[in-house]
């Protein structure tokens, strides 16, 4: 597999939009050709080589191409947007929209990622080892259709609107979430291993959500059905006792979603 190493060298005083950084785009190109690819900073387009040193050629296809970003790029947005195959490793933190609408392949972010990772993702794996902010795997503004496939794994915490409108695929959050995790969820799976602040699974109409920690303020439109033990969703296991709720009943469509909440951490419910 061919590896292209990008090292940030440019001036990132204004954020940069680098949706061109994908294995699909790099495949079949030499290091020099990759350096010629245009990316955006504000209304100006500039060569990738003005922002990154480029080492190594792209592979013969996207599958054969790995891109390593060797450093922190918190002000670079849209890395891996629409990628279909291959691999991107970011050895630091990255900006908004990483893996936006990705359809295949793999992105690993070793640091943190800003908001909108994996927006409307269709397939592949997006793994963020640190924390992220809002709208993980979420639908764009006004749309009720978020992530449809693939998997997003966040080892740290996420903030608001995780998995908004998700209808397929899985989101696994190792840490905590804030507001509206699983808002308008209609399919797929969200597992939060840590705590949630409030409005968990609000407006849910389908799919399954699991909260392993404590929910500070419970969503009012859910009804308890049963208690279940040791949940298993293919390769994802959630050990312990869970209260099974259905809802959300505070939505015109009437909820047919399932919300599992750790019994141990939420006895007051």
């Amino acid at each position: 597999m061919a590896e292209v190493i990008l090292k940030p060298i440019g001036n990132f005083d204004l954020t940069v939009e680098a949706e061109a950084i994908t294995p699909d785009n790099f495949a079949g190109k030499t290091a020099v050709e990759i350096g010629e690819i245009l990316i955006w900073q504000a209304p100006a387009q500039a060569k990738l080589s003005e922002f990154f040193s480029v080492e190594g050629n792209g592979g013969s296809s996207a599958e054969d191409t790995t891109i390593t970003i060797d450093g922190d790029v918190p002000r670079v947005k849209r890395i891996g947007q629409e990628m279909t195959a291959g691999k991107i490793i970011i050895k630091g933190s990255t900006g908004m929209h990483v893996g936006n609408t990705m359809a295949g392949g793999e992105i690993i972010v070793e640091g943190n990622a800003e908001s909108w990772p994996g927006m409307e993702m269709k397939g592949g794996l997006l793994h963020i080892k640190g924390d992220t902010l809002d709208h993980v795997g979420c639908a764009y503004r006004g749309s009720w259709h978020g992530m449809t496939g693939g998997r997003i794994v966040i080892d740290g915490n996420a903030k608001n609107q995780v998995g908004g409108g998700i209808s397929g695929g899985e989101i696994i959050i190792g840490g905590n979430v804030d507001n509206f995790c699983g808002i308008r969820m209609n399919g797929g799976l969200i597992v939060v291993k840590g705590n949630a602040v409030r409005t968990t699974a609000a407006e849910m109409t389908g799919g399954v959500m699991v909260v392993g920690g404590r929910i500070e303020k419970f969503s009012p439109g859910f009804e308890m059905e049963a208690v279940e033990c040791d949940l298993k969703f293919d390769d994802i296991e959630c050990a312990g006792e869970f209260m099974k709720f259905t809802g959300d009943y505070a939505i015109p469509q009437k909820g047919k979603g399932t919300l599992y909440v750790s019994y141990e951490n939420n006895e007051c419910l």
């Binding site: 639908a139 764009y140 503004r141 006004g142 749309s143 015109p252 469509q253």
Partner: protein, 584 residues
């Protein structure tokens, strides 16, 4: 010389002038069609070689939702409609976005690229007329006008209840001037006022709450007023019960109401030298027939009811209608018929916006996607085409999608292909739900429209119906120099290769406005001046004075003052009054 051009050797389709595909040259001088250009003029003129191409008058859309409060509600509430569909700015053109509800600049450009040069905004709520005009002013490339929504107006309902048709007419003439609008739009008469209480009406003889007038009273009253005043176009009717299974019957019965009213357009304009009579003779213009032609009694036995309406249209001459075709895909449903959109909300649970306008009317907006896999939608697709193919005389019909209700106007080329090619229709039957063939008659309809008929339903008849054929929808001498040149070889056309029809109509080789090339092969070359038409109706000063006394005394129910109610000229791009002589 500005606005001077020669379009040579094209196959010309100018139905109002009885030109049917003959190879001709079209000359335009100072923006108007002329018989010829002198040698000296030719030297300065731009010359276009249209050999092997189809030449038509600029397209005229007589019913489209492109400007105003509810269209903008659609834009505002649908970022998901815009983010993937956009256009970048160029040195002369603005940027824009939006697929079913494009922003104003983009909308103008897209119409122009298809060879359209005149568009009517289908619904202007009086109190929101300033807004509608503000948007129309910003829409580039197109001459425009708007229809004033009057079918549930308190003042009118009160006059009609009292039987005072003269005052009602005076009110309409004042309102047209006050809000610089062009024709009368009647939406779900009597029903929208009931929607102010969350109700509707469902029969022509059902009086509404409080005002106690029936749909029949309003349709009859407005049609009479329309002809008493001599408004350029017939009353524009969106019939009751729209979108309900079985509504075709009330639609047909509504069309019967103005049968005895004689069309009397009475405008003071110079007429282009067309061979055909370019004045309308109908007293009612039914809009988006498809949505008003539902058969069956429920969604289970839903079927096309189009034939019931087209049979009536075929045997009567006082009706003209547009189709409201459904080309499948994304749409945004928007109408002045608030309760109809509430019904759609109940069916779909989608996002839904509604704006009731005090003392006047209302509106609703809802995103909608027509799917080939959906049985109802598939029948609606077939019905839209039936409304055009079943009407024997193309001069009784106009092609629309009720944009963006059935789908965006950018789908017109696709609809033209279905009208011209039975193969295109049969191929679509293969892809869509079988209800399309089981519940409509379209599958066995073999008619294929000619280019001349397409020219009638996409420009000539839209212009004639709206009373604008003195200058639009024809290339007769004296007409406006608005021309579309399509890369379609009329003599070699193979309708089975319908993709080439779609391509041909999608991006006109040239769109010419006032004798100036404004788009070429989909690229914007110039932003022309544009006109906004409205009916300037002269009535007796005394009648107006009497009427205004009432209006002022009832104005306390508004939240805007009488003095701040009108739409000033500044909101119009080149305000162009069409003089109407009601007094004569």
């Amino acid at each position: 010389m500005a606005g001077t051009i020669a379009i040579k050797n094209g196959y010309v389709y100018d139905p109002l002038n009885e030109v049917d595909g003959e190879v001709m040259d079209i000359f335009i001088k100072n923006g108007k069609v002329v018989t010829e250009l002198s040698a000296a003029e030719m030297k300065d003129a731009k010359e276009i070689d249209a050999k092997g191409k189809t030449v038509m008058p600029g397209g005229v859309d007589s019913h489209s939702h492109v400007a105003g409060a509810k269209v903008n509600t659609g834009r505002m509430m649908r970022p998901e409609d815009h983010y993937k569909y956009y256009q970048k700015k160029t040195p002369i053109a603005h940027s824009g976005c939006g697929y079913t509800v494009p922003s104003v600049y983009l909308g103008g450009y897209e119409y122009s690229k298809m060879g359209y040069t005149t568009v009517f905004e289908a619904a202007v709520p009086p109190m929101e007329a300033r807004h509608t005009h503000e948007e129309m002013r910003s829409i580039p490339m197109l001459d425009m006008a708007g229809y004033l929504v009057l079918g549930n107006n308190w003042f009118l309902m009160r006059y009609l209840k009292e039987g005072d048709i003269d005052k009602a007419a005076a009110y309409v003439s004042w309102m047209m001037k006050t809000h610089k609008t062009y024709g009368i739009k009647c939406v779900n008469p009597a029903g929208v006022e009931n929607w102010g209480w969350g109700e509707n009406v469902s029969a022509l003889d059902e009086a509404n709450i409080h005002f106690e007038v029936t749909p029949e009273d309003i349709i009859k009253g407005l049609a009479e007023i329309n002809e008493q005043l001599g408004i350029p176009m017939p009353m524009h009717l969106h019939a009751n019960n729209l979108g309900h299974p079985g509504c075709w019957e009330i639609t047909r019965d509504s069309l019967k109401i103005p049968k005895s009213i004689k069309a009397k357009p009475n405008t003071d304009v110079e007429w282009a030298e067309t061979k055909m009579k370019a004045q309308r003779h109908q007293s009612v213009y039914l809009t988006h027939c498809q949505f008003n032609a539902f058969g069956g009694t429920s969604w289970r036995d839903f079927e096309s009811g189009v034939k019931g309406i087209t049979d009536y249209v075929n045997s009567n001459d006082h009706v003209v209608m547009d189709s409201g075709c459904v080309p499948f895909g994304d749409a945004t449903v928007m109408t002045g018929d608030g309760p109809a959109i509430h019904d759609l909300y109940q069916l779909t649970g989608n996002k839904w916006s509604n704006t009731d306008v005090e003392c006047e009317c209302g509106s609703g907006v809802l995103p909608f996607t027509y799917l080939k896999s959906n049985p109802i939608h598939s029948v609606q697709w077939a019905m839209g085409l039936e409304t055009l193919l079943y009407v024997k005389d193309a001069w009784k019909s106009i092609m629309t999608t009720d944009s963006p209700n059935g789908g965006p106007f950018t789908k017109y080329p696709q609809i033209i292909a279905w009208l011209m090619s039975n193969k295109a229709r049969q191929d679509t039957f293969e892809e869509c739900h079988k209800w399309a063939s089981d519940r409509s008659g379209l599958a066995s309809e073999t008619r294929e429209m000619s280019l001349s008929e397409i020219a009638i339903v996409t420009r000539a008849n839209a212009a004639r119906t709206t009373g604008l054929a003195h200058s639009k929808g024809t290339l007769a001498v004296g007409a406006d120099g608005d021309v579309a040149v399509y890369d379609i070889d009329a003599k070699k056309i193979d309708v089975n290769d319908y993709e080439s029809i779609i391509r041909g109509f999608q991006n006109a080789s040239y769109t010419i406005k006032g004798g100036e090339v404004i788009t070429q092969d989909g690229e914007i070359l110039a932003i022309p001046e544009k006109n906004t038409f409205y009916s300037d109706i002269a009535i007796k000063a005394d009648s107006e004075k009497e009427m205004l006394k009432d209006v002022k005394s009832w104005f306390k129910y508004y939240t805007i003052g009488f003095n701040n109610y009108p739409t000033p000229d500044k909101y119009l791009a080149n305000p162009t009054p069409i003089k109407v002589n009601a007094e004569r």
